[in-house]
Each structure stands twice: as C-alpha cells, then as structure tokens.
C-alpha cells in the first residue's frame, strides 16, 4: 500500500485483515491509535451494516478532534485513512481510485522549504547511517505527529525520504518553515541524546558541508 504514502491529505494509515482484524501495517505521522480504531470499527461497522441491511459497505468515518478516520473495505482488508476533519471521505475514496498518482501536476515548493526538507533528509541519512535509518525515519514520523500537525497532511515520508505530496499553500509558507525548523531541532536533540554531543556535532557538521 505504499501508494498511500504519496496521496496528499493522508496523515497516516493502517491496514487490517478483514478476516480476523489482525494489523498488517501502520504508517504515517498520526498520533492516534489508527490500527485499533480500524480493527474495532471495521468489525462493528460490518455488524451494524448487516443488521440494518445497508447493502455493500462503502465507508465508515469516525470524527475526533481535528481529524477523521475513513475506513474502507479494500480487497481482503480494511484500510483506515486518517485525514483532516473537514475533508470529504468520498474525495479521498476517489483519489484512491486514480490510476497513477505520479500523473498529477509537479509539486512546487519554495526554495527555503525544499532546502529544509533536504536538510532533514540529510540529517536522517547521517544520523541513521546505513544501519539505523528505519529508527530515524520513525523519529521523523513522530516529530511530524507531535510538532508538525498543520503540515502533516501534505508532507510525509515517501520511499524513505521526507517529501511534499503536493505544493504547500503560499500563505502557509511561514507555518511550514516553522514546523520544519522544529523538526530539525528535534532530530538534533535526539542525536545528542542518543550518540553524545561530539558525535552528533560531527554528523551535523557533515550535513552542513553537504548542503554547501
């Protein structure tokens, strides 16, 4: 389901098996227990649908706080997709049906934002080296969830790199810049915590060199 990583608007997602509700995958930067919600509510929704003779299930939507979870039957699974509260579930369902996500117009990102994203990717690469990249990608997702709430729907980890899934709105450039700065700070603090200040400093220095 890696295609879900590329769809703008999806903050995080979980896939569970329809047969037994076991969790197959949870990805993205959501702070909510998406797997549990998807597993429990897909089962509850199926029972309610049968009881009320509702026909074929199209979707279940749960609204909480500023987001909503849209649960869809997909082959032998249920997908639970977290999107912003105001978004229409039908819209995200239609997007899933689009054949090739890559056919969309190119993403245009202001230089200062693309530079920060590049810096974050270099930090993750440098801190994770060859062996620990997954751990640093997890930390990156965590920081997006905790510090980048406003930007999470249109930026995320795609194929192992932080990337914009669609062009950021011009009026929100400052918000994006600030959130990305927090993420850089978070990653550097984590590096100091995990590998000591001299090692962390050396790796940050290596990133600075690469960015010149």
């Amino acid at each position: 389901m890696d295609v879900l990583d590329k769809i703008p608007g999806i903050i995080g997602y979980a896939t569970v098996k329809a047969e037994d509700g076991s969790v197959e995958e949870v990805k993205g930067s959501s702070a909510t227990a998406l797997a549990d919600l998807t597993a429990y509510f897909s089962s509850a929704g199926e029972a309610i649908k049968d009881n009320l003779d509702m026909g074929k299930l199209k979707y279940i939507s749960l609204t909480y706080g500023s987001n909503r979870l849209v649960i869809l039957p997909y082959e032998d699974k249920f997908l639970g997709l977290e999107i912003e509260r105001e978004k229409d579930p039908q819209e995200i369902i239609e997007r899933l049906g689009e054949p090739v996500v890559a056919e969309k117009p190119p993403v245009e990102v202001p230089r200062n934002l693309s530079s920060k994203v590049h810096q974050i990717n270099l930090l993750v690469h440098e801190f994770g080296a060859e062996v620990d990249k997954e751990h640093w990608l997890d930390l990156l997702n965590q920081s997006l969830s905790v510090l980048g709430r406003d930007i999470a729907p249109i930026i995320g980890v795609v194929e192992g790199e932080l990337a914009f899934k669609e062009s950021p709105p011009i009026e929100k450039e400052d918000d994006f810049s600030q959130a990305l700065r927090y993420i850089v700070d978070f990653l550097v603090k984590k590096a100091v915590e995990e590998m000591g200040s001299s090692q962390a400093r050396a790796r940050v220095q290596a990133v600075i060199e690469k960015m010149r």
């Binding site: 702070a31 909510t32 227990a33 549990d36 919600l37 429990y40 509510f41 509850a44 929704g45 029972a47 309610i48 649908k49 009881n51 009320l52 003779d53 509702m54 026909g55 074929k56 299930l57 199209k58 979707y59 279940i60 939507s61 749960l62 609204t63 909480y64 706080g65 500023s66 987001n67 909503r68 229409d88 579930p89 039908q90 965590q142 920081s143 969830s145 905790v146 510090l147 709430r149 406003d150 927090y182 700070d185 978070f186």
Partner: protein, 194 residues
C-alpha cells in the same frame, strides 16, 4: 427530548432520526419506528466499541452502504442520529445541523454524568507550566497542537477534556523525551485534576 422533537426534525428534512442514551433508552421518530430494535442493538455495539478503545473521543460516526447509511453525533449522554438513503457526495450538512439542534435537548432517561462538570480553565496554564519542565522549547507547539487535536474548547472545559488532554500531552512528551518522562509528566498532571 421526546418523540415529538424527533418527528419535528424529521418533518424538516432529517429522514429517520433517533436517539439512544447510555442507559439504553431508545427513542425513534415515526419514520424510524420500523428500525427501533436494530437501532438499540447498533447503539450497544457503538458504546461497547468506544469503551474498549477508551482514549479517543469520537464525536461523529458515519457508516455508509450502497443501500442505506447511518450517521451519529455522540456526546456525553448518548447518541443521536439518522438513517438515510445515500446519494452521491458527502452526507448533506443539513443532516448534521439538524442533529446538532437536537443535541441541545436532553436525551430521555438521562442519568447525570461526570461529563457535565465544568472545570476552571486556569488549570490549562498550570498544565503548560509543568509541561515546560519536560519539553522546554517545544512546549507551545506541543500544547497548541494537542489542544487542536483533541478539539478542546476553553470556554466549555470539562474534566473529561482535561484528562484527555493530559493523556495526549503525555503521549507526545514520550515521543520527545522518552516513555519514563512521559509517564512522570502524566502522573504530575493527573495530580492537578484529582
């Protein structure tokens, strides 16, 4: 709320309104009478599923099939909702507006719940001060994000909202400074609401 209130919103465009309290008192409009038993069973499934999950405060549920759909607005005392026949596109906003209007009327057979108690918003400043000791420069950002994520309304702050916020802040703090610190923060913040 009584049956007349449900029939009234039915006359104004809500197809088959109903309400179910947490004590399982089920009220249905005339249009939904044929589904009364199923609505009671459905509400039981919803309440049990939500109590299993605990932490997330679910406010609205939509379950949409190709023949029929059901939407529900949940609050401290129970749920109100309607069955409808789905058309193309989103659930009509007018349905949600009419449900919101119904929500202002007390649900039948309600037992007063803890949810009703209002809390002095000054507690939020205390929470923020303690949070600062754990996440330093990230305090404002984490606090604001979690306030938004949890949909906290400062003007109408309930004990349940504060507990939910504390859980969310502790979880976020765990991600930033580790689980033991997150637990420690949770303990300190929980002291504030005891």
């Amino acid at each position: 709320m009584d049956k007349d209130a449900l029939n009234n919103v039915a006359a104004r465009g809500l197809p088959m309104p109903f309400s179910v309290s947490k004590t399982r008192a089920t009220l249905v409009s005339d249009a939904a009478a044929v589904y009364k038993e199923q609505i009671g069973q459905m509400a039981l499934v919803v309440f049990e599923t939500i109590s299993t999950l605990g932490e997330v405060k679910i406010e609205r549920i939509e379950i949409v099939g190709d023949k029929r759909g059901i939407i529900m607005d949940l609050h401290g005392e129970g749920l109100i909702g309607t069955i409808f026949e789905p058309a193309e596109g989103a659930v009509p906003p007018s349905y949600w507006n009419l449900l919101k209007e119904l929500r202002t009327k007390p649900i039948a057979a309600v037992v007063p719940s803890r949810r009703m108690a209002l809390v002095d918003a000054a507690i939020l400043e205390k929470i923020k001060t303690i949070l600062q000791d754990y996440v330093g420069d990230f305090t404002d950002r984490i606090y604001q994000n979690q306030m938004k994520n949890q949909g906290i309304n400062v003007e109408e702050l309930h004990a349940e909202d504060v507990r939910r916020l504390i859980l969310a802040l502790a979880k976020a703090t765990s991600m930033i400074v580790g689980r033991s610190k997150g637990r420690e923060l949770s303990k300190k913040l929980t002291e504030l609401v005891k």
